[in-house]
């Protein structure tokens, strides 16, 4: 009986275009949209080498030395091109350099647009001018101090990495999206309960008349749903990783385990709503979409700051929102090197799953109905 019900449920669900759209195509489309919208975000925080034209009108060994230091090494800040004034102007107007530096008694910077590269050039020259003035003043007043002077910049803060990978803040959106996709699996749960309950569908009535154990049929059928949901989630993950190039870090094994648990939570959530809420299928579908979208919104899917806002202003919401627990589990895996926060989220999610499943069982175990 297991094989019979399982195989036919697979057939039915795979041909249900609306179901496949909401549970697979929609999250993929949303991921593509996110990628288009946020694709440049992570690269905006990094700087490339800035091409600059340098016109030497007088010898300035100190500046040449500084510029050389800034233009060598693993990630040089500048790529200087020593040219004549006319060549410099040509390079600038062609947009081949961010600016031109004329080295004379004083430094002159010429740019023809504003931007991060131009700002860096200005800051660099300001800093250089400030330092040389300071050194000149010290040399004039206390020349003996110059020998002991340490020009190494002093920093009062220190970077302490919490992850071994490169931090990408846009991942938050994708985590919330994956959580949303897992919870869209609730549509499967809704469908399975409708199929088993005589008071919810005529097919349910027909199944109740057959010599089949109702709960067993429900479990077999739900397993088919879960199989499809997991398949869809794997397609989504593959799309995110291989097509959109989202880097989930080194914990991919645990991420997949989390997807498995999240999908189960989503499926049981749909069963829970279908079994407990009175109303027709459209109303329940609307309710599932609404709850999932609100849950995703509160976990930062549409607006990343929302996650922080909820955590600081309404911390209870982070605990009672299963979508957030799931999204935060992914977040914890990526941003923290310990598993405390991850395990806390997963435990919360499993508790929700058990509550959803037991409540569903409590309703569907009823063998007769008061009305049909």
């Amino acid at each position: 009986m297991f094989g019979h019900i399982f195989v036919y449920r697979l057939k039915v669900l795979l041909r249900d275009k609306s179901m496949i759209f909401w549970t697979m195509i929609f999250p993929i489309a949303l991921a593509t949209f996110f990628n288009l919208a946020f694709g440049g975000f992570s690269s905006q925080g990094t700087f490339g080498t800035i091409p600059v034209a340098v016109v030497l009108e007088s010898d300035n060994i100190a500046f040449a030395d500084t510029l050389e230091k800034m233009s060598t090494g693993e990630s040089p800040m500048f790529k200087p091109d020593f040219v004549t004034p006319s060549q410099a102007d040509a390079l600038l107007s062609d947009g081949k350099v961010a600016g031109t530096i004329t080295v004379a008694d004083t430094m002159a910077l010429k740019v023809n647009q504003s931007g991060i590269s131009q700002s860096i050039l200005k800051i660099f020259l300001d800093r250089y001018a400030h330092t040389t003035r300071t050194v000149s003043r010290i040399a004039a007043i206390h020349p003996e101090s110059l020998q002991n002077m340490d020009l190494t910049p002093v920093t009062f803060t220190k970077d302490a990495p919490i992850t071994t990978g490169n931090l990408d803040m846009t991942l938050n959106y994708f985590y919330a999206l994956i959580a949303m996709a897992c919870f869209y699996g609730s549509f499967f749960g809704l469908e399975e309960v409708s199929l088993i309950q005589a008071n919810l569908s005529r097919r349910g009535a027909r199944l109740n008349m057959a010599p089949v154990h109702k709960l067993k049929a429900f479990i077999y059928s739900s397993l088919a749903s879960y199989t499809i949901l997991i398949g869809e989630m794997m397609v989504l993950m593959a799309y995110l990783i291989f097509v959109l190039g989202v880097n989930f870090g080194s914990q991919i094994g645990l991420i997949l385990v989390t997807v498995f648990i999240g999908s189960l939570a989503g499926l049981t959530f749909g069963s829970f709503i279908a079994a407990l809420v009175k109303g027709d299928a459209n109303m329940k579908t609307g309710l599932l979409i609404g709850i999932t979208m609100i849950g995703s919104f509160l976990s930062g899917m549409m607006f990343a700051e929302m996650k922080y806002l909820v955590q600081t202003k309404f911390p209870l919401l982070t605990i009672i929102n299963p979508v957030n627990l799931l999204a935060d589990a992914f977040y914890a895996l990526y941003f923290f090197s310990t598993y405390n926060r991850y395990l806390l989220n997963i435990s919360g999610l499993l508790i929700f799953t058990v509550i959803f499943a037991l409540s569903t069982y409590w309703v569907i175990r009823r063998r007769k109905y008061a009305s049909l």
Binding site: M1, H4, Y8, K11, V12, L13, R15, D16, A198, S201, R202, R203, A205, R206, L207, N208, M209, A210, P211, V212, H213, K214, R367, K368, Y369, A370, S371, L372
Partner: protein
């Protein structure tokens, strides 16, 4: 006894849907449950199938108490509900195979039964069609095939011909008779008296959850005083003539709607002859004239005072 229902009471709040219903269905018969919408037919069926909770009463099927876990009973029951209950994502063949598979685990045996069911309902040309491509009549036939493919001993059909074209309706009714001839006992519910009259060997008439009459169609018709209904198409008739017709022996009522005169009489010989004689004597010009025996609607009308299709 295939089905035995004793003192069944089902309430929906203050509404009594079934009021001490007693029902027996014998092996080999086509038992008709006739009644207007809301009379309790479907409620009775759902109680018999253990889908609905009921307040009081006992239900036995195949001489065993019926319950939701009575799988040994359920395996021999086939049900065709009023609403079509199939999967739009499965073909005609797969739908029948799926539902048949809930009763028959053996694939080889099932294949034979599914093929026979498809043949039986005349859907051989539509095996690979999806339900959305089928007409209403064909869809009903698919619904029936899904309910009877496992060759049950008891088949329950709850208004299977609602919203079906006449051709498909006849096909369905012929099929039910054929199933009965093959050995199945049938419970058939309908509010179409003609259908029930046509195929049922015994009939129970329900109204407001109560049994108002039961028996064979002849037994039911003998319960009422109406013996004959004569209808005459007249072109000109006076009030006096209508009163004189009403005064003829055994005539109980005369109704004239401006075109047709409907004359009702008690059971007696020569009623039509006497009416014809009067018309000839009075030289009343007439068109059509015909006589009808009482229908189940007349039975219902006489007992309840309202039309079956009210």
């Amino acid at each position: 006894m295939i089905v035995k229902v004793d003192n069944l009471v089902k309430r929906y709040g203050n509404l009594v849907a079934l009021d001490h219903l007693n029902l027996q269905v014998n092996a080999g018969e086509i038992f008709g449950l006739l009644g207007p919408n809301g009379s309790g037919k479907t409620t009775a069926i759902n109680c018999i199938l253990s889908l609905l909770k009921y307040d009081k009463g006992d239900i036995h099927v195949f001489d065993k108490p019926m319950s939701p876990e009575a799988y040994d009973i359920k395996k021999d029951i086939g049900v065709v509900m009023q609403d079509v209950a199939v999967f739009n994502e499965l073909t005609v063949h797969d739908n029948i195979d799926y539902f048949c598979g809930l009763y028959i685990p053996d694939k080889k045996e099932r294949k034979k039964l599914v093929d026979e069911a498809i043949e039986f309902v005349g859907l051989s040309d539509y095996r690979k069609f999806y339900p959305k491509k089928l007409s209403g009549g064909l869809l009903r036939r698919l619904n029936i095939a899904c309910g009877i493919a496992h060759k049950p001993k008891l088949i329950i059909l709850d208004e299977p011909t609602v919203a079906v074209d006449p051709q498909s309706r006849n096909k369905i009714l012929e099929g039910i008779v054929a199933l009965n001839k093959q050995g199945a006992t049938v419970i058939y519910t309908s509010h179409y008296m003609e259908e029930v009259e046509q195929i049922c060997s015994r009939i129970m008439i329900l109204d407001k959850g109560k049994t108002i009459a039961q028996g064979t169609k002849d037994e039911l018709k003998n319960m009422i005083s109406l013996g004959e209904k004569i209808t005459v198409e007249v072109f000109d008739i006076t009030e006096t003539q209508l009163k004189e017709i009403e005064a003829l022996p055994h005539i109980t009522s005369v109704i004239y709607d401006g075109k047709l005169v409907e004359i009702r009489s008690t059971k007696s010989k020569n009623n039509l002859e006497k009416v014809l004689e009067y018309i000839k004597t009075e030289k009343i010009s007439f068109g059509k004239i015909y006589s009808e025996l009482p229908t189940l609607n007349d039975v219902f009308l006489e007992i309840t005072g309202k039309e079956l299709r009210d």
